[in-house]
Amino acid sequence: MSRAGLKDFIGRFAESRSAVVSLAVSITFVACAIFAPLLAPTDPYDLTQLQLSDALKPTGSKRMLPGEEIRANMWVEGGSASVEPVSPAKTRLAFLTEPCAPNCLSVIVRPEDVRLASLQIRNLPAGVTVEGAKKHPIQPWWTVDTPQGSKVRLISSAPLPASFTFLAIAKSMEQETDFIFRLGTDGFGRDMLSAILYGIRISVFVGLVAAGVAMVFGTGLGLLSAWRGGVTDAIIMRAVDFMLGLPALLVGLAILAVLGNGVSKVVLAIVIVQWSYYARTARSFALSELGKEYVEAAQCLRLSPTRIMLRHVLPNCMPQIIVLFTLNIAAAISLESSLSFLGVGLPLTRPSLGMLIASGYEFIFSHKYWISIYPGVVLLVMIVAMNLLGDRLRDLNNPRLDR
């Protein structure tokens, strides 16, 4: 198209406000898809980051750091104690002891800012107890809940034994972090915002690739059909009729039921469903182009059939095919989402929008609406925008429908 033609085309496109908005929305979605790793606050594919304590949190909740636990054996000998951690877990907590008044020993947890949920002392020698502690009804265990200043005092009415051992177990409280789950979390504690962004990425990727492969494949067959005519044409067009007669979702389900799930298999299923649209469109427009005199001129110039079809006929059919492509991206996305929703699409570890909607489905009756609703709204907006865009392009291509 010439520059003036392009300008005119853009001008006519812009006459429809909804088309401009849907173009903007579509571009936003594609940008979301491309930049999802930069935009998403967390990486929803990193399973090690997930913690069950975050699961099913509503919109706006903060991420909690789970409490830590430390156990240590302590040897007290002549007033000084040595600490030997039992389970050298990764924790910043540490014990130390400090003599207080006579017949008294403080067990302190450092660092100072830590807030303990409980501190338990086990296996003290006879006569020694823990100040303000609850004793286990049977075991020689003393527990202090939320000890003041993260410390407890071992006291005895008699002087403390010269040497004794005990086991100390400290549990710190859950801690709030600054990280906010803007759109809540799903059943695995995944941040919904990140999951949706990555879901858009997968959906857009699958939609583009599947519709693109179907376009190349279907258009090729359509051109072949138009050029060869006769038996080739009849065979290809009967196959097209056959495919068009079957419901897309059913075909997709059947194919994936055989192949199993995965991105490439979903793409394959969508291509098998969609190639026929392109074949039919490409054939009919190629036939009308083949009837024009410039094709005869090209034959007269003894150009090869391949060149005539690809260089002369195809570019003249391209506008219609691109319109179909736009509409079919939306169809591919919704087909992929439907398949994922039905559980035969993409794997759960890399959820697409449809998968997210499905994963929230079981919680929707316990008022945990956000897991299904947000991806659903995003999917809806995306598909509506792409359909409006495709419709507008189709109208522009068909002067009779325009205005």
């Binding site: 009849a234 005869e296 007269c300 003894r302 150009l303 003249n316």
Partner: protein, 336 residues
């Protein structure tokens, strides 16, 4: 006399219309077969000499374009022989570079140009692909050709829709000239243009012909244009040639009743706009052509004989043939 450049013997072309392959198959078994075969060109023989211009006239649908396409080698013939400089078309067309020697100019200046290509590519594409010019020199070459047809050099970067009808037809002519043809077929090349523009294009074609000695087949509705341009004229009716003679002779003393009707319908005085008027009587459908002489339902001197016997082309004077059963020679005309 010059050498023969093109010769057609008994050239025919039929189309199957409205019939699916299944219908055709069924026809083998059915009693009342539908006539699904349309004989667009029926047993046409003609010759063209180097440098000569042959005109073809006839009403719409008489098979002129079909004949042109067969001569250009872009439509296979149902039967008959075609030769270019004595060589049969099968082997001639297989050599692509030689096949370029026959080119065609089309009727519709817009649809005959690919709307998505710039004029530079439309004109230069084939010459470069067939290595008539190296790619590096293609631009200069195209500018030269465009200058020959009277288009400015900056046309090469423009698209067909940015030109007027006459300019588009010039582009179409440039495209044909760019592959150095020896024979040019103009299928109603001026029919879609305004009268003033028609004259320009006809002058252009005549200049080209004078400069390069092209042989030309000029198809037209317009008897005035034919008379102006052509050395010999063939008159077609429903797929058959009914009369063929030198231009002067044909216009001075037409013999076939159909030719006479055409010429009678032609305004005598004005030089412009000499299109023939519709002649009385329906044009029969080419699907159901009348038996015998195709023209007999409209012929004023038809006899009962005419509806049974197909008239063959007969020579009635040197270089003058016609297909009529009742008119034996030119002297018989006085009786009409």
């Amino acid at each position: 006399m010059n050498e023969m450049i093109f010769e057609a013997k008994g050239l025919s072309r039929s189309f199957t219309v409205g019939g699916s392959p299944i219908r055709e198959f069924a026809n083998h078994f059915l009693r009342d077969r539908q006539p699904t075969v349309l004989r667009a060109v029926d047993n046409v023989s003609l010759t063209l000499r180097e440098g000569e211009t042959l005109g073809v006239v006839g009403e719409s649908g008489c098979g002129k374009s079909t004949l042109a396409r067969m001569i250009a080698g872009i439509l296979p013939a149902s039967s008959g022989e075609r030769c270019f400089r004595g060589e049969a078309y099968d082997s001639f067309l297989a050599r692509k570079r030689d096949a370029l020697k026959i080119q065609m100019v089309f009727q519709d200046p817009l649809s005959s140009l690919n709307p998505r290509l710039r004029v530079g590519e439309i004109v230069g594409e084939a010459a470069v692909l067939h290595r008539l010019v190296p790619r590096s020199k293609a631009k200069d070459y195209v500018v030269d050709i465009l200058a020959r047809v009277g288009l400015p050099a900056d046309s090469i970067n423009r698209y067909p829709h940015q030109f007027s009808g006459g300019q588009r037809q010039r582009v179409g002519i440039a495209r044909a000239l760019a592959v150095k043809p020896h024979m040019l077929i103009c299928d109603e090349a001026v029919a879609a243009l305004d009268v003033s523009v028609q004259a320009q294009i006809i002058n252009l074609l005549m200049d080209i012909k004078r400069d390069s000695g092209l042989a030309m087949i000029f198809i037209s509705h317009d008897l005035g244009v034919i008379r102006h341009l052509c050395d010999r004229v063939a008159v077609m009716y429903l797929g058959r040639i009914v009369e063929l003679a030198e231009t002067k002779q044909l216009f001075a003393s037409p013999t076939h009743p159909y030719t006479r009707m055409l010429l009678d319908g032609m305004p005598k005085i004005s030089l412009q706009r000499r299109r023939f008027m519709p002649i009385q009587g329906e044009i029969p459908s080419p699907l159901h052509p009348p038996l015998g002489c195709h023209f007999h339902p409209r012929c004023q001197i038809a006899t009962e004989h005419c509806s049974r016997v197909r008239p063959e082309l007969r020579q009635i004077a040197p270089g003058h043939v016609h297909a009529c059963l009742n008119i034996e020679c030119r002297s018989a005309l006085g009786e009409m």
